[in-house]
Structures are given as structure tokens and as C-alpha cells.
Symmetry: C2
DNA sequence: TTACACTTGACAATTAATGTCAAATATATT
DNA sequence: AATATATTTGACATTAATTGTCAAGTGTAA
């Protein structure tokens, strides 16, 4: 049940599946191959714009890729925090509260 | 059932409860009163170090305050994202996965 | 050994976070 | 109403993090 791939792994797998080189994709993103290489190996974070472009280039579902991307950003925020797990739970509670009261005056 | 205070509100309430002025507290934090004023009104984010000092100054539970602080940081990451809620859930799943495999080689 | 894809690390450029300061706005007191 | 004090606001400076380039290095295969 291998279920947890990083965005980088997803991007690399799908780039290779399409037979594209770093060069090809990074040109479309208008960045150096070095950065894309680092993104694929999780050494750098992509920007949101890059993720959206990559979804297009690699024919991946945008929403899905964006969710993966955002979830990694969230985890990055708390990766060195002992209380990270608890903070995540509290964040979800707050999120519920916010959504609940969204339409109210 | 008022349950959702911002960190800023918590800080201000407790500062006033202790009869302290912005001036007194900001001096201990070694920052301008302007910043503390903004932190209390959620116009700026505090740093982690400031939160820990504030917990001491105001006799608040450090872990608790830190959890509130981190959860706000998390929400800040996704505040403008339509997929924020979903990203949060995925982040929690990943977190579980990480914790589960923590002790493994 | 040449060619090609990718990786690495030093560093430059850009953007975001954090801070100061001085003037503006309460609010209360004489 | 004038003064005093606390807080707020906004323009700007400083610092730190992010994002990028470049050139040299590694690996692999023809």
C-alpha cells in the first residue's frame, strides 16, 4: 500500500512517463533545469504558478496536484515542531469554525 | 460558546488583565510598541520567540499558546486557497503516516 | 572519449517578514 | 479646552527567506 509520494516524485514520474527531459519542461516553466531538478528531488519548493503549469504540461489534475502541494507547504511549516500534530488539529477546528460562519453577517 | 479567539485577542486580554501597557511588554520583548499593537490586532504575526516570551510575561501556558500560534500560521498559508480545507486534511493524513513510520529504520 | 542528462554548490536577484520612527488618533484628567 | 498618556497608523529601513542563474561536477551510454 504505497500511497505517499512527494510532489517531486509525482512530477518526476510523470515527466519521465511522457519522455520529457528536464530541459523541455524547465523551458516551458521558464526556469533553469537546476531548479526543476531540485524540485523533483524535494530540495526546493515550487511556486504555486509552477505547480499549475506543471499540471498542464504533464496532464495532471490541477486540483489534486495543488492539494498535494499545499499539504506539503503546511507540513513544512510544522516539520520541526514538537506540537505540530496538535497545531494541525486545532487548525482544522478553526477552519471548520470559519467555514461554518462564512455566510453569516 | 465563544471559543475562537485569535492569539492577538488572547495577548491583549491577558496584558490588560495584568494592568500592563504596550510599552511595558514591548520593552521586555525588545521591540517597538507599534509592532506589539499590530500583533494584538492581528495585523502582524509574532515570531515564535516572541510568543514564548509573551507566555512568560503574561503567565500563559507555553504549549497552549504555541499551538494557537502554529495553527494560525497554518491557516495563514491556506487562507486564500479554495482547496485549503482539503489540503489540511491531506496534511493530517501525511502527518499520521510520518508519525507511524517515525521509529522505523 | 565524446555526448548528453542530470546534479551540485556558490552566489545573485527578488520578494516577504520584521522592525523603527514620527505623526495621528483616541481617551482621560486638570 | 488644554495637557498628558496610550495606542494606532503608515511610510520607510533592515533583515531574512525564497527563487533564480551559472558553471563545474557526476553518471551513463554510445
Amino acid at each position: 500500500m504505497k500511497e505517499n509520494k512527494t510532489i517531486g516524485e509525482i512530477l518526476r514520474e510523470n515527466r519521465e512517463k511522457k519522455g520529457l527531459l528536464l530541459r523541455h519542461v524547465s523551458a516551458k516553466l521558464d526556469i533553469d533545469t537546476a531548479i526543476l531538478s531540485k524540485i523533483e528531488r524535494s530540495e526546493r519548493k515550487a511556486t504555486k504558478e509552477q505547480i499549475l503549469k506543471l499540471a498542464e504540461i504533464l496532464d495532471l489534475d490541477k486540483d489534486n496536484l495543488l492539494i498535494q502541494y499545499l499539504s506539503e507547504k503546511i507540513l513544512y511549516e510544522i516539520k520541526d515542531e514538537a506540537l505540530g500534530s496538535k497545531a494541525l488539529k486545532v487548525a482544522e477546528q478553526k477552519m471548520k469554525y470559519i467555514n461554518k460562519n462564512k455566510s453569516r453577517k
